[in-house]
Symmetry: D4
Subunit: 154 residues, 8 copies
Amino acid sequence: MSKVWQVYLSGEIHTDWREQIESMTKAKNLPVHFTHPVTNHENSDNCGATILGNEDKPFWFDHKGGKVNAIRTRTLMRDADIVVVRFGDKYKQWNAAFDAGYAAALGKSLIILHAPEHRHALKEVDAAALAVAEKPEQIVQILDYVITGSLPVK
Amino acid sequence: MSKVWQVYLSGEIHTDWREQIESMTKAKNLPVHFTHPVTNHENSDNCGATILGNEDKPFWFDHKGGKVNAIRTRTLMRDADIVVVRFGDKYKQWNAAFDAGYAAALGKSLIILHAPEHRHALKEVDAAALAVAEKPEQIVQILDYVITGSLPVK
Amino acid sequence: MSKVWQVYLSGEIHTDWREQIESMTKAKNLPVHFTHPVTNHENSDNCGATILGNEDKPFWFDHKGGKVNAIRTRTLMRDADIVVVRFGDKYKQWNAAFDAGYAAALGKSLIILHAPEHRHALKEVDAAALAVAEKPEQIVQILDYVITGSLPVK
Amino acid sequence: MSKVWQVYLSGEIHTDWREQIESMTKAKNLPVHFTHPVTNHENSDNCGATILGNEDKPFWFDHKGGKVNAIRTRTLMRDADIVVVRFGDKYKQWNAAFDAGYAAALGKSLIILHAPEHRHALKEVDAAALAVAEKPEQIVQILDYVITGSLPVK
Amino acid sequence: MSKVWQVYLSGEIHTDWREQIESMTKAKNLPVHFTHPVTNHENSDNCGATILGNEDKPFWFDHKGGKVNAIRTRTLMRDADIVVVRFGDKYKQWNAAFDAGYAAALGKSLIILHAPEHRHALKEVDAAALAVAEKPEQIVQILDYVITGSLPVK
Amino acid sequence: MSKVWQVYLSGEIHTDWREQIESMTKAKNLPVHFTHPVTNHENSDNCGATILGNEDKPFWFDHKGGKVNAIRTRTLMRDADIVVVRFGDKYKQWNAAFDAGYAAALGKSLIILHAPEHRHALKEVDAAALAVAEKPEQIVQILDYVITGSLPVK
Amino acid sequence: MSKVWQVYLSGEIHTDWREQIESMTKAKNLPVHFTHPVTNHENSDNCGATILGNEDKPFWFDHKGGKVNAIRTRTLMRDADIVVVRFGDKYKQWNAAFDAGYAAALGKSLIILHAPEHRHALKEVDAAALAVAEKPEQIVQILDYVITGSLPVK
Amino acid sequence: MSKVWQVYLSGEIHTDWREQIESMTKAKNLPVHFTHPVTNHENSDNCGATILGNEDKPFWFDHKGGKVNAIRTRTLMRDADIVVVRFGDKYKQWNAAFDAGYAAALGKSLIILHAPEHRHALKEVDAAALAVAEKPEQIVQILDYVITGSLPVK
C-alpha cells in the first residue's frame, strides 16, 4: 500500500492557488492528502469570540481567535511531510512566515511559493526551504517528481 | 481519506460531560475518536490491588492503582492531537491538573473546561491552554471549527 | 569539578519549607542550586497586569500573570535535574499538580512532598514520582544520599 | 552560582530598542546574556556573496546571505531561554515572524514587542507568545520579575 | 475505529507464557497486537553467521547475531505502547534487562513479570515499571482493564 | 493485522539490486514496503532546473536538484524502519554515505551492502550498521528472519 | 578551554575496577569526570526505607530504594558522554544490563567490560556497544585515545 | 561572558586545512573551540585492535577501530554548534560524507569545504549545508561574521 503524502498548504487565502494545486494533483492521480488553515477569512477572525464568548478589547478578541486557529494549524503541520507556504501581494502575512519558521524548526520539508518581487524580503525564509517556486503548477510538478520520479515533458 | 482527530477527555468523572461531547460530535458527524481515563471510579481506585494483589497499607494500595491507570492515560495522551481537561466542583482533582501539565509538556493542543469561579485557581493551567471553555457544547464547536472551518450560526 | 545539582522547588508558598530545605542543604555543604517560582503571592498575581497593562476582566488579568510566571517556571523546570513538588493544606494547588505533570513528561526526577491525608487524592501524582516524602528534612536526606551516598545515622 | 539567562533579541534592526533593553538591564544588574542577529543591515545583506563569492542573480546573492545568517540566528535561538521578537513600522519583516515560529516550535519562551496597530496582523504570532509588550522597558521589567521576582513600583 | 494496542513481549523464551497471554487475550477479544523477539533459540543464536557468513571466533559469531536480532527487537520496541519483560528461572537473561532499560528510556509503559524470589535482584528494574506481576493472567487482566476498564470478578 | 515493514533502499542506482531484493521479497510474500530515491539518473540530475527554472551556473543547477531530491529522500528515510545503503564500484557515492549518516543519527536500523574491497574505506560507515552484507539475497534473508524468524535452509 | 568528558561507570560494585580506572586516568592527567551509582551496597539497599520510612513487605522496602537510586543513576547517565558497564562474576546484575539498555536508548557511547566467559550471555548487550573490553586499563586506553588520539606503545 | 562556539572539523586528514583555520581564527581572537577526529591516520586505523586485541580478519580489525573512533566523533559532533566537512582530492572519503549526513540529521549548521570539481558528486551533501566554501580562509571569515558581524574588507 503506497504512502499518502501529507501536504500542508499555508499562507495567502485570497486567491485560488490551493484549488489549482489540488485539482492538478487530482488530475495526475497522485496520492496526496492536502490540509490547510481555515480559509474563510471571516470565520478565521471570529472563531475565538464566537465560540468562547465575545470580547470588548480587540486584542483579546483576536487572541482567542489566534489560539483556536493554532489548534488546527499546529496539529496539521505536525502531521505534514511537506509544508508549502505561499506569500501573496497584500497584507503583512506574518502568520505565513510564522508557519514557515514553525515548520522549519520541526524539520519539515519546506517549499515557498512567491512572486519574484518578494525575493529580498523573503531571503531568510527561502534559505530554509528545499524549493522556492513562483507558480502553483510547480508545486504539483514537485509533488509528481517527489512521489513518482516523473518530470514534466518539455 | 480524511484525518480522524484523536481527542483525549481528561478530568472530572462525576457528570456526563463526556457523553454530551461525544453525542453532539456524533450528531455533527465529525471525524473524531475520543479517548479518556477509566471513568468507573471504583475500578479506577481498585485496579492495582485487584489485579496485582491486595495491600494492607493504603499508600501502596493506591500506588499500584495509580500506576496501572498511568499505563492507559499516558499512552492515550501521547496518541492525542487535542487534550481536553475538565475541572468540576468537587474533590482535589490533582490528577486532572497533572494531566494538563503532562499534555502541555508534550506540546499537545490543550483545552481547559471549567466554571468561571475556578478562574483564579486555574490561572497557570489556563495560561498553557489554547482555549478555555465553560460548557461541553463549546468543545464540540471548537472541534467542528478546527476540523471543518464552520462556526455556529448566531 | 563536581556537578552542581539543579533542584526546582515547586508548589505551596505559604510555609517556609523551601527555606528549611535550603538551610539544611547549606549546612551539609551539598553542591545544590535551588530554584523556585516567585513566592511573593501578590507579585505572582499581579505581574502580568502591572508590567503589560491592567485588565478589567479578571480572566485576562490572571491570564497575563499566568503566562509571565510561565516564562520563569518552565525555563527553570527544563533546567532542573530534580523537581520537588509540595502540596500543602490549603487552596486548590492546581498549578503544583500541573508542574508535577509537566516535569514528569520532561522525564525529570520527581519528588512529591505532602502530608499523609492527601495520599488518595495524590495517587496519580505520587505514581509518577521517584520518592514521596512528608517532611522537608527527607528531601535533604535524599539529596545527600543521591549526591554523596551517605544516609542519616539512626 | 546564579543562572545567566540567555535572551535572543530578534526582529527590527532600524531603531535602538536592543540598546535600550541592554542598558536598562545592565543598570538593574540582572544576570542576562543578550544575543541577536547581525544588525548591520549592509553586512547582513552582503555576507554570503562577500565571503563565498559574488552572484549575478539576485536570488542566489540573497540566498547565500540568508543561509550564512542562519548559522548565527538558529544557533543562538537554540541556546536561548527567551526569544524576544520586535516588529517595527517598516518593511515586510518576514524574517522576524519566521524567527517567532521557529522559536515557538522549539518550545522557547516567546515575547512579542510591537505597536498596538499591528495587533490584528500579528494575532497568530501573539497567540504563541507568553507576553506581548509595546515598549522596551516592559521587556526589562519582565526579565527583572522573571529573574528576581520584583515588580516596578507604581 | 478503536485503537489496536501494540504490546511487546520481551524476555524468557523457554516457557509458553507468551502463548498463554496471547490466547487469553484472544478469548477476551481485546484489540491487542503482540510482538516479540525471535523465540526460536537456535535461530536467534545463529542468524548472524547463517546469513552474513560464518565466523571462527565465537565473539564475532555472537556479535553478528546480536546485531541482526537488534534490527527486530529495537524496531518493535519503538512501535510498542507497552513493553512486558519476563524474567524466568534460568540463564543470565541480561538481554531481558537490557530491553527493560531500553524501553524505560524510550518512555514506554513497562510491565515486569517475575517470580517473587527475584524481587531483590530486580529492584532497580521493577522501580522503572508501571506494574510488577507474577503470572501471565495478570498481564491479560491489566490489558483488559487498560483497554476496557473492566476488572476481573472476584 | 501484521506490521508492514518500511525499508528504504539507498545508494547505487546503476545495477538492478533493488529489483532483485524486491522480487525475492515478493516471492517470499513478506510484508515489506520498499522505498528508494529516484533512480532515473537523468531526472535526478535535472529535477530542480526543469521544474524551478534553468540555471547558468552548474552549482545552482545542481543545488536546486539536490534540494528537490531531499524532499523525497529525507521524508522516506524518516518513515523507514530499516535503511539499506548499497555502495557500488563506480562514482564517489557521497550521497549514499550521507544517507547512511543521516539514518544513523535518526536511530534507524542501518544495513550496508558492499563488495569486500570497500571494507577499509567504509569502516566508519559499517561501524554504525547492524548488518554488513555483500549480496542482495542476504538483505532478503535478513528481512525474512527479522519479520518471521526463519533462516535459510543450508 | 578543553572539554571535560563525562564518564558514568555502571555495574559491578564488589571489586575496585572503578578506583583502578580513576587512578590510571588521573596518572595520565586526562580531563575526565567520572560518576557512578552509590557503591556502598548496604546504603544502596537501605536508602529508600531509611529516609522515607520502613516497610514490612520486602517488595516495597526494595521498591523505595530502587527509586531513590534511580534519581541518581538516571540523572548521571543523562549527563554522561560515555557509559561504561561492567559485568562481574557474581549476582544477577540485572541493574547493570538495565543501565546498558537505558544508555543505548539515549544514544550514549556504550562500553561493556566483562570476562570472556560471559560473551554469549551478553551478546545482545555487546551488540549495542562501541567497545567491548576485558580489563580496566583498556577503558583508560580508550579514554586516552578518544580524548588525545594517543595509543599505548607496544 | 561571551559564548565559545563549538566547531567540529570533519573530513580530509592529509593537508593542513585544520591548522590553517585554527591559526587564522586565533589571529582574529575569535571565541571558538575546535574539535576534530583523530587525524593521525595510523592511530585512527589501529586504535581498535591495539587497545581491544588484534584480529586476523581485516573486517573485524577495521570494525573495532571504526567503533572506537565513533566514541570520539559522535560525541564531539553532538557537542558542536557548527560542523565543517572538507572533501579532499584523494580516497573515497565516505566517512566525511557520513559525518555530513549525521550532522544534518542532528540539525547542526553544516558547512562544506571542497574544490569546484567535486560540485556534481557532492550536490546532495551541499544541498544540506548552510555554506559551501572552497578555501579555509572562507571558513574563518564565516566564523568571524557569524560571531562578530564583521566582513572582510575588500
